[in-house]
């Protein structure tokens, strides 16, 4: 069931026995229940499962946005453990890129300024230059000075991806990145994320509901009730994720 690691690629994400419990007593909810997961460098992995299966919780824990009840997380060789907020913040800034469902761009900043935010936060002297390079790579070279309200949804999400990539992170976490887009734009974003892993060598972990978007990934993790129920390699066909979901009884 589990996928063997390509030996030559070092792991970027190592998760062991990850458990997250919300509430206590009768109100206790086990959002994650002993999840083990290893993501090697440059792999595009997608996590699917019904609502409440724990995929968002997994993403939040990997991003250091929330703390686990039990288990360990290591990102790019650094254990998250009991890291104080400021160090965790720094790790997020330098090693992890985030892509959100609602793009979350700052409405009063233009494309370059939004994409260069993490670099500026890090005091990078060439923040705008590097952000511009990424925007040009992902095809927004002609919209550099536009503010979010002057961009389409797909374009806004591209800016968000440029923002996530601008710090050259080891890991990109994408939470329903196409959930707020039309199907044409969603396909483009899926292709772009594959490019992020295949051409630019970043590990990408994407949570999605859309089997068609999931098919852009090279590996699919299926979750239910806080556990990993399947973990398989995808062949790029649009039907593969749907078949896997059907097989696991998740459709």
């Amino acid at each position: 069931m589990s996928v063997p690691l390509p030996a030559e690629k070092p792991p970027i994400v190592e998760v062991a026995g990850l458990t997250k419990v919300y509430g206590t007593g009768a109100a206790e909810v086990r959002a994650l229940d002993g999840v083990d997961l290893v993501v090697p460098e440059g792999q595009f992995i997608t996590v699917m499962g019904p609502s409440g299966c724990g995929k968002s919780t997994l993403l939040n824990l990997l991003g250091g946005l929330d703390t686990p009840t039990a288990g360990t997380i290591s990102i790019d060789g650094t254990p998250l453990g009991e890291m104080p907020d400021d160090r965790l913040t720094e790790l997020r800034r330098r090693r992890i890129g985030f892509v959100f469902q609602f793009f979350n761009l700052i409405p009063v900043l233009n494309a370059v300024e939004n994409a260069s935010l993490p670099l500026r936060l890090d005091g990078d002297a060439d923040a705008d230059g590097r952000a511009t390079t990424w925007l040009e790579r992902i095809g927004l070279g002609d919209r550099l000075r536009n503010r979010p309200d002057q961009l389409s949804g797909g374009q806004q999400q591209r800016v968000a991806i440029a923002r996530a990539l601008s710090t050259e992170p080891a890991l990109v976490l994408a939470d329903e990145p196409t959930g707020n887009l039309d199907s044409k734009s969603a396909g483009e974003i899926g292709g772009l994320l594959r490019q992020v892993s295949a051409d630019w060598g970043r590990s990408v972990l994407m949570v999605t509901h859309d089997p068609r978007i999931a098919s852009f990934a090279e590996r699919l993790v299926l979750m239910r009730d806080g556990r990993v129920v399947d973990d398989l390699v995808l062949d790029g066909s649009h039907e593969a994720p749907r078949r896997a979901l059907e097989k696991a009884g998740l459709l």
Partner: protein, 842 residues
């Protein structure tokens, strides 16, 4: 840091109208602080120098102890004393006017001729020219005088004034008229010093030196040093007897500063409210920033920088507006003051401390108000970026805060009732902060109660409005508090003005219960006043139709090193023609007591200065050595409301001070007497005493009231300026509450609310908020006004508390009108919302 500034600036610009409203609050606060502080020193200056002291910039006057002319080298000795800035030699003598046969019986019989040294007099007196020109050094037979005096004498520029000279008469040409007001008894005409010396045959000798101190001089110490330097041959008169007046003015100044603070506190509430909303709106942005690696500190810093930018811009504009307010007020008031009070009030004066205070307060209040919201922003978790939630849920510690508020209100009551001005000020601020903390806890129940009548008018919309307010009691409480602060200051100001006015009216009516006053035309303190012997009193008493006559005798004494005016009254007759406004614990019995030994009645100022209680000893330096008096009572009269004064029997005045002459005579006529006849008879009597002049009390009273009304103009303007920030607070909160509920309003419209209903809902919200704020403000303001009146009494400015009925009604009307006005803009924009766009807004 650069990013923080960029973000802050972009957000400010991106939300232009919001930023504008918030900044406007700062502008108003700073405008009031800066503007009022620019007006007040100039006003106080004008009052002390022009109107009440009537002494120009004179800090000290030197005259001969023997009423003799002296050599002018005193000027140099005076200038050698540290702290003395200017000394101007002069001559002051009374000169009778030639009387024509057909002159009216009450026509002016004499003037005070003042010789001024043109080179130095500018340092101690102003001569505001109305027409013509000022004296020049070559003018040997030119004269200038006040325009009102000239018109009384029937003179104009170019006319001649004939004065008796050492040999025969001398003719002077009127070359200029001054715009200052002439105080009855001080009808002065000005000559050059050499001309006056020649007129009175004084050679090079002078009769007085007037001096002004340097700005930093210690008044009392300098007066002492001058007295020591000149020796016992000279009498040194200072303004120290006016220091009590200065104390009252300082109290007023303090009260105004307090109102400036209120305005800024209101601004602080508006800013805090605005930033809370801004933080709530940007939770998603903040969450994202935190997720992609922004530290808490940076997020907090972003909001603080935003507030700093607004503080700086708001303060800058506020200072400009404050300058405009001050200049505008002066422009508006100048004609009033010049035509009614005959004095120039100059222009606004902005001291270095005004600048520093305004800048520090303006920026400080803005940043401090943003701290709590900024901290809340720092605490937003990165998870907010993932799970957006509409409408912030604030940690509400309403209960605990309300109890702290109750505690503060209780504590403030102690401060407010101490009677000490500074404690009252502190108490006032603590009181308002306490109320502000209690407000969130009581807003919901009060809203429940207050919305009932509203729902009768607004039916369904009223109920929605009520639940809108109750859903976010924190925000509602802040609006209520802002309205409350604004209206409380208004009610307090009105209370104070009403009480001051009522106090003066009472003084006037009580003290001047006499029908006639006979006052000498020239009262020159320290120069042997023209006073009358017993014959005048006897003659007046003999006039048919005169019921009672009583006289006042006046002298100066020293008490504890300070000057005090001692007035001798006749205990047997005084109360028939005049009255005291007694402090509690004293009564008319004290007057009878004056006749039974060395007893005195002190006025409020004297009693407050020496913290005296009835029965205590009062040590007075008299020409016959120190004498111990005892305090029989504490009471006030109008004539001496502003001077430190003691009243004793005329018998005591004769025995200890050797004063027997009457300075002022008061008389009542019998009920049956014909006023015209009595007046004609009295005029005949006064005709034999050219130094005295007959006044009818009613005329005199009317003149005093007119003067006083003119000075209240400034209060009206102040009240208007205080009202504006409250309006702004309402507009701001309403606008923000509409902005934050864009989606909700869109939903209401989608499910079938008409534009009209949305408009009425916002209007109902506004009315509810303003009604509650008005009630809070009225109650708090009444109490504050009362405390201020008590505080003024404590420093000796005794006044009865007058309940400001009309002011209260006006405030309630204004408050509710503001509620409607403030809602117009937000209600329209809410009604115009594009439903589809509103629903899509995140």
């Amino acid at each position: 840091m650069k990013l923080t500034i960029t973000l802050a600036w972009r957000y400010l610009r991106g939300r232009g109208s919001r930023s504008f409203l918030t900044t406007l609050a700062v502008v108003f606060g700073v405008m009031l602080t800066f503007g009022l502080n620019g007006i007040l020193p100039a006003m106080v200056d004008a009052f002390t120098h022009n109107l009440l002291a009537a002494a120009g910039k004179v800090d000290l006057t030197v005259t001969s102890a023997y009423n003799q002319p002296f050599r002018p080298d005193v000027v140099d000795r005076l200038l050698a004393v540290p702290g003395v800035a200017t000394a101007s030699p002069g001559v002051q003598r009374v000169a009778p006017l030639p009387r024509s046969a057909d002159a009216a019986p009450d026509a002016l019989a004499q003037v005070v001729v003042v010789g001024i040294d043109l080179a130095t007099v500018g340092g101690v007196h102003d001569f505001p020219l109305d027409s013509g020109r000022m004296l020049a050094s070559a003018d040997n037979n030119a004269v200038v005088m006040n325009a009102d005096l000239a018109s009384e004498l029937g003179l104009g520029v170019g006319d001649q004034l004939v004065l008796p000279a050492a040999g025969g008469t001398a003719r002077f040409r009127v070359v200029g008229l001054l715009s200052a007001a002439t105080v009855p008894g001080q009808e002065q005409v000005y000559l050059t010093l050499p001309a006056a010396q020649q007129l009175f045959g004084l050679g090079s000798r002078i009769t007085q030196v007037e001096a002004a101190f340097t700005a930093d001089a210690d008044r009392a110490a300098t007066e002492k040093a001058v007295a020591a330097a000149l020796g016992p041959d000279y009498q040194v008169g200072g303004l120290s007897s006016e220091s009590s007046l200065l104390a009252s003015l300082q109290t007023a100044e303090f009260a105004f500063t307090l109102f400036g603070l209120f305005a800024l506190a209101t601004a602080g509430f508006i800013i805090a409210n605005s930033f809370r909303t801004v933080v709530a709106e940007r939770r998603r942005d903040i969450g994202m920033l935190r997720a992609i690696g922004t530290r808490r500190r940076t997020v907090m810093g972003m909001f603080l920088v935003e507030s700093l930018i607004q503080g700086v811009i708001g303060t800058g504009l506020g200072i400009l507006a404050g300058w405009g307010l001050a200049a505008g007020l002066f422009a508006a008031m100048s004609p009033v003051f010049e035509s009614v009070l005959h004095f120039r009030i100059g222009g606004p004066v902005f001291t270095a401390s005004t600048w520093v205070t305004s800048v520090l307060l303006g920026i400080g209040v803005t940043v401090v108000a943003a701290i709590v919201p900024a901290r809340a922003a720092g605490r937003v978790t990165p998870l907010e970026a993932m799970r957006p939630q509409v409408g912030a849920v604030y940690e509400r510690r309403v209960g605990r805060r309300a109890w702290i508020g109750v505690g503060l209100v209780v504590v403030s009551l102690f401060g407010l009732t101490t009677g000490s001005a500074s404690l009252v000020g502190l108490g006032a601020v603590v009181f308002l902060v306490g109320i502000a903390l209690v407000a969130p806890a009581v807003v919901n129940p009060i809203t429940n109660w207050a919305s009932r009548p509203l729902e009768l008018v607004f039916s369904r919309e009223g109920a929605i409005a009520r639940s809108n307010l109750q859903r976010n009691p924190g925000r509602s409480a802040i609006t209520v508090t802002a309205v409350m602060l604004g209206l409380a200051s208004i009610v307090a100001v009105i209370s104070m003005v009403t009480s001051i006015f009522a106090g003066f009216t009472t003084y006037l009516d009580k003290s001047l219960s006499a029908d006639y006053l006979l006052i000498p035309q020239s009262i020159i303190l320290g120069q042997g006043n023209v006073a009358a012997g017993p014959r005048l009193t006897d003659d007046v008493r003999a006039v048919p139709g005169i019921a009672a006559v009583s006289t006042l005798r006046v002298t100066q004494a020293k008490s504890d090193g300070g000057d005090v005016q001692v007035i001798g009254i006749d205990p047997a007759t005084y109360l028939k023609v005049a009255a005291f406004d007694w402090n509690s614990g004293s009564s008319d019995a004290a007057v009878a007591q004056l006749g039974t030994g060395r007893w005195v009645v002190a006025n409020g100022i004297y009693a407050a200065q020496h913290s005296l209680m009835v029965g205590q000893a009062v040590l007075l330096d008299t020409p016959n050595g120190p004498r111990t008096y005892h305090l029989a009572g504490i009471g006030n009269d109008y004539l001496n409301a502003k001077l430190s004064t003691l009243y004793t029997s005329q018998e005591n005045l004769q025995r200890d001070f050797n004063v027997t002459a009457d300075l002022l005579l008061m008389a009542n006529r019998t009920a049956a007497a014909d006023p015209d006849q009595v007046k004609a008879q009295l005029n005949r009597v006064v005709g034999d005493f050219p130094a005295f002049r007959l006044y009818e009390s009613s005329t005199w009273r009317a003149e005093q009231m007119k003067t006083f009304s003119a000075t209240t103009v400034i209060f009206d303007v102040l009240v208007a300026a205080l009202a504006l920030p409250s309006l702004l607070a309402l507009v701001n909160t309403l606008a923000i509450s509409v902005l934050t509920r864009t989606r909700e309003i869109g939903m209401l419209r989608a499910v079938g609310a008409t534009r009209r209903q949305v408009r009425r809902m916002v209007m109902a919200e506004s009315l509810l908020l303003s009604v509650i704020g008005t009630v809070f403000g009225a109650v708090a303001g009444l109490w504050l006004g009362y405390a201020l009146v008590v505080a003024m009494s404590a420093v000796g400015w005794q006044m009865p508390y007058a309940f400001p009925w009309s002011g209260l009604v006006a405030t309630v009307v204004v408050g509710i009108t503001f509620g409607v006005l403030a809602a117009i803009g937000p209600a329209r924009s809410a009604a115009r919302l594009d439903v589809v766009a509103a629903l899509h807004q995140e």
